[in-house]
């Protein structure tokens, strides 16, 4: 039996940004990789919500685990806290250990993560590729980054 693709969770301070980033990744990659968005406190209030992130992680895990991409600041703290709230939102008890918080950049990392997940790669590979997502841009732009 073929394993389900790794799920991807998008965490952003802005619902508009998180939703648009997910749409962009789907458009670029065109895939059935599960992508869940936990962004903003509501449609217009900026912020992150650890409980909402936990729910998104629980929903995105189809058995192969989840890679979480996040923007910055409280998004990181809230994503870490979400791992402690998975039980409270009824997640599979195994979801916590198969969730990877990825240090990659949100937009570039998300596109790479979805592309890699669509190939059937495991969550560690998905996270590693997403974490290296600035590589192509750095190479293309060249100096001053190479100095």
């Amino acid at each position: 039996m073929e394993a389900a693709p790794v799920g991807i969770v998008v965490v952003s301070h802005s619902r508009a940004l998180g939703t648009a980033a997910a749409e962009l990744a789907r458009e670029v990659v065109g895939t059935d990789v599960p992508i869940a968005v936990a962004a903003g406190i509501d449609e217009t209030t900026t912020g992150t919500d650890a409980a909402a992130i936990a729910t998104a992680i629980a929903g995105a895990d189809r058995g192969s685990g989840v890679v979480v991409l996040m923007d910055l600041g409280s998004a990181v703290l809230s994503a870490e806290m979400a791992l402690e709230l998975l039980e409270d939102v009824g997640a599979d008890p195994a979801t916590r250990e198969r969730t990877v918080l990825c240090p990659g950049p949100l937009v570039e990392g998300l596109v790479i993560a979805v592309a890699t997940a669509s190939t059937g790669a495991d969550r560690h590979r998905v996270s590693e590729d997403a974490a290296a997502a600035l590589g192509p841009k750095r190479t293309h732009l060249g100096k001053p980054w190479d100095e």
Binding site: T46, G47, T48, L77
Partner: protein, 207 residues
């Protein structure tokens, strides 16, 4: 202390946050992203609504509800930080119907340890810990020296205020303010400021 006392404490903190929201946001606009006052006001307003709905919840339930409400309504880093603080207090409280002075101090200490684990900060980093750590050290020292809870909480609030004031010259090493490097010196930390309000509220309501 039971649900009534803990509820009074949280309501007093909510009032203080509301009264000082503009100041907290002004402090945050100098070195952060100008939302600490509005974020904490929104979060504590939601906590008060939960208290109104279930005023007699046992202490651990009440503290857990406060923590989860802050997690889902504050939005900024204060959400997971204050949220973790109250959730760890709840865990420390367990199934007790009432907390004595030592039990309350232990719960606060558990909350502090949660904040340290969550934020990976230390004293001197120009964060809420610069108010919280000296406050709880003063609380424990006063209780160990035989003070009653009221006197001990007043000592804690005084230490929190002093810790808050001492953040002014510090260079921030955590959060949005750390992006400013040396330019963060000369400003009072908003997180330490709201934490001092939390201790002042405790002294006013739980003594």
């Amino acid at each position: 202390m039971g649900p009534a006392e803990l509820g009074r404490w949280l309501r007093s903190f909510a009032d203080a946050v509301t009264d000082n929201a503009d100041e907290l946001t002004a402090l945050d606009s100098a070195i952060g992203d100008a939302d600490h006052g509005s974020n904490m006001r929104r979060g504590m307003k939601a906590v008060v609504a939960k208290l109104d709905a279930a005023p007699d919840a046992p202490p651990a339930k009440l503290l857990k509800t406060a923590g989860m409400t802050l997690v889902s309504t504050v939005g900024g880093a204060s959400g997971p930080l204050y949220g973790t603080f109250f959730l760890r207090m709840a865990t420390s409280t367990g199934d007790r119907a009432e907390l004595d002075a030592a039990g309350f101090a232990a719960a606060l200490r558990a909350g502090l340890e949660g904040v340290v684990a969550r934020g990976k900060a230390a004293t001197g980093d120009k964060t809420m810990l610069d108010a919280l750590v000296p406050a709880l050290d003063a609380l424990d020292a006063a209780l160990a020296g035989g003070s009653g809870l009221g006197d001990a909480l007043r000592a804690a609030a005084d230490a929190a205020d002093a810790g808050r004031d001492a953040t002014v010259p510090l260079v921030a090493r955590k959060g949005r303010a750390s992006y400013l490097g040396e330019r963060s010196a000369g400003h009072q930390d908003p997180g330490a400021t709201s934490t001092a309000l939390l201790l002042t509220a405790a002294a006013a309501t739980l003594g």
